[in-house]
């Protein structure tokens, strides 16, 4: 089973929920941090990294000896990533989406592919929990291809927890698509609610069962709860604001480490998810 943890709004506590749930569960569990722009889960899990891989995406390279300047490559490219200018062909690798169209269309077979570095994937473990994250190279614009690579580490026989990035566009969709359950972490504020509605819209498009965690549940107003009830979204957990939790978080400590009584609550959260996705599938 794959559970993805998303939010719409940033800073609502995705990583807190993902890491605490992951360490609370025993057995064959893996945590994949798909927030490759700003991965944070490792700061709480402190995994021992034993594999580092540089991830690249294919981009065109032109052999000017073979090129006859026909311009078909520039014509097919939707992303303005390759252009014929005068007597030369200029690829713009940072614009390239790696579709392979230019290489396919070239009648002279003058185009081959080389790699543009997207970032790295690091894999490790802590106390039996398998940990994988991607780190986007600073200056690289496209995170979805790296996110897809991180997701390839999901093993069908394991329980996989995905820490997704904030927002509702392609990086989030890439992180959530094809997962069995989406846990949406929100906060009871106008920003939290507005972005939650967008996230729920995305989850509906993907047709994945979902539930809510309300973080800092005593800090704003009650509109998130009213919305959840109206939309039939189950509230699976509430985490009240507690300065002790906030300070522990600031130091890189997990709730279950400073307040062990929370371990039971995260286990219960998982059991509710298990039951909901079971009902969906049977």
């Amino acid at each position: 089973m794959i559970i993805s943890i998303a939010s719409g709004k940033g800073g609502t506590g995705k990583t807190t929920v993902a890491t605490n749930m992951a360490v609370s569960l025993g057995g064959d569990v893996q945590l994949l941090d798909c927030d490759v722009e700003e991965p944070n889960a490792h700061l709480f899990i402190h995994p021992e990294i034993n594999e580092v891989k540089i991830i690249t995406t294919p981009v065109p390279e032109v052999d000017m000896e073979k090129c006859n300047l026909c311009g078909k490559c520039g014509e097919i490219c939707q992303f303005k990533a390759i252009v014929v200018i005068g007597k030369t062909v200029l690829p713009f690798p940072e614009m390239c989406h790696s579709c392979g169209g230019c290489m396919e269309v070239c009648p002279e077979k003058a185009i081959t592919e080389t790699g543009r570095e997207l970032g790295v994937i690091e894999r490790g473990s802590r106390n039996g929990l398998e940990f994988v994250h991607g780190k986007l190279r600073v200056g690289e614009a496209m995170s979805p291809p790296l996110i897809r690579k991180v997701r390839e580490y999901a093993r069908p026989d394991a329980l996989t927890i995905i820490d997704a990035p904030p927002g509702t566009s392609c990086p989030v969709i890439t992180s959530m698509k094809g997962t069995d359950f989406v846990l949406l972490v929100t906060e009871p504020t106008p920003f939290g609610l507005y972005d939650l509605k967008l996230a729920v819209g995305a989850v509906k498009i993907l047709d994945i069962p979902c539930g809510l965690v309300i973080n800092r549940s005593d800090m704003g107003d009650d509109k998130v709860k009213i919305y959840a009830e109206k939309e039939n979204l189950p509230i699976l957990m509430e985490i009240p604001f507690d300065r002790k939790i906030a300070e522990a978080y600031s130091r890189g400590e997990m709730i279950v480490d400073v307040m062990p009584e929370w371990k039971e609550k995260f286990l219960e959260l998982y059991h509710q998810i298990e039951e909901m996705s079971f009902h969906k599938n049977h």
């Binding site: 719409g8 709004k9 940033g10 800073g11 609502t12 990583t15 722009e37 700003e38 944070n40 700061l43 709480f44 097919i76 939707q78 992303f79 989406h97 790696s98 579709c99 392979g100 169209g101 396919e104 269309v105 986007l136 600073v138 200056g139 690289e140 614009a141 496209m142 995170s143 990035p165 904030p166 927002g167 509702t168 566009s169 392609c170 990086p171 969709i173 698509k177 504020t189 106008p190 920003f191 507005y194 972005d195 967008l198 819209g201 995305a202 498009i205 993907l206 800090m219 704003g220 107003d221 300065r243 906030a246 300070e247 978080y249 600031s250 130091r251 890189g252």
Partner: protein
């Protein structure tokens, strides 16, 4: 004209609350919400929309089943596995590269322009504002960011305003890169946590990569003063101007719940005083006022 872009790396550090506060005291400015996939500034600004435009960007493939002979070439060429065994394109997976459309021997694939959202020109109690809404699950957020910043600048120019205040997105990827290019300066809102520090370091690196002068302020400073100091030390090492410290203050949430800026809600709270100090330093450093 000058443009200040507020970013953070990590989400939820207070970018929008801070930008809204600046908007309520800055003289002669236009506003721009460049966090197009989770835009929140309008929840405080309550804009009256004067112009509404479709945002069309990129294309999406669709197979005409009557003409398709199921030869399978498109499925072979598509690097995203966006085409199912029964020859339907999954619009969520389709990258819009057009390779299937180009090569289909039956010309059975259509490739229409895609509507990816809307953008707006509005009036608010603090001045004109450009903002947008990226369609849910849509792509091309970077292009929409570029467009909305351009429209924001036009708004400011039209009314002879010398400043554009832009609320940026979290992260370091395509929409953030699109938010930074050509900006006068960027203010990074950090928080004194291990993740806040980690994310701030990456976004400082990003600003340096694109040669945009960076400044930093730390929100919820008292949550972990040691971490706050460590962030300030890092900032100074990288020539990032330290603009100030904001204490943890429930005034941010309370003001937001009422759709007000923190100055409108309570300008004598500790949080408001700290933000006022940061704004005054910004005015001086950016030579705006």
């Amino acid at each position: 004209m000058k443009e200040l872009v507020v970013i953070s790396g990590k989400g939820g550090t207070g970018k929008t609350s801070l930008l809204a506060a600046f908007a309520s005291v800055a003289k002669g400015k236009a506003l721009c919400d460049a966090d197009v996939d989770a835009a929140d500034l309008h929840l405080i600004m309550d804009p009256r929309i004067k112009e509404r435009h479709d945002f069309e960007s990129g294309h999406e493939a669709a197979i005409n089943q009557d003409m398709c002979t199921q030869c399978g070439l498109c499925r072979e060429l598509c690097r995203w596995n966006a085409i199912s065994e029964d020859f339907n394109v999954d619009p969520i997976v389709c990258e819009g590269c057009g390779v299937c459309y180009y090569f289909c021997p039956e010309k059975a694939i259509e490739f229409p322009l895609k509507n990816c959202g809307e953008w707006y020109l509005s009036e608010t109690r603090f001045g004109p504002m450009a903002h947008a809404r990226l369609g849910i699950a849509e792509e091309n957020s970077g292009k929409l960011v570029t467009l909305i910043r351009k429209e924001g600048k036009k708004l400011a120019e039209k009314e002879n305003l010398g400043l554009l205040l832009t609320d940026g997105p979290p992260g370091i990827g395509c929409p953030v890169i699109a938010s930074l290019g050509g900006a006068t300066a960027t203010l990074i809102v950090a928080e004194p946590t291990v993740s806040g520090r980690h994310d701030m370091e990456r976004v400082v690196e990003l600003a340096a990569f694109f040669k945009v002068p960076a400044m930093v302020c730390i929100n919820k400073y008292d949550l972990n003063p040691d971490m706050g100091q460590a962030i300030e030390v890092f900032a100074r090492e990288r020539n990032v101007t330290v603009m100030g410290r904001i204490p943890f203050d429930p005034v941010f949430t309370k003001a937001m719940v009422q759709g007000k800026t923190i100055f409108e809600f309570d300008d004598r709270s500790d949080g408001s005083k700290a933000v006022k100090g940061i704004w005054e330093k910004l005015e001086k450093d950016l030579k705006i006022s």
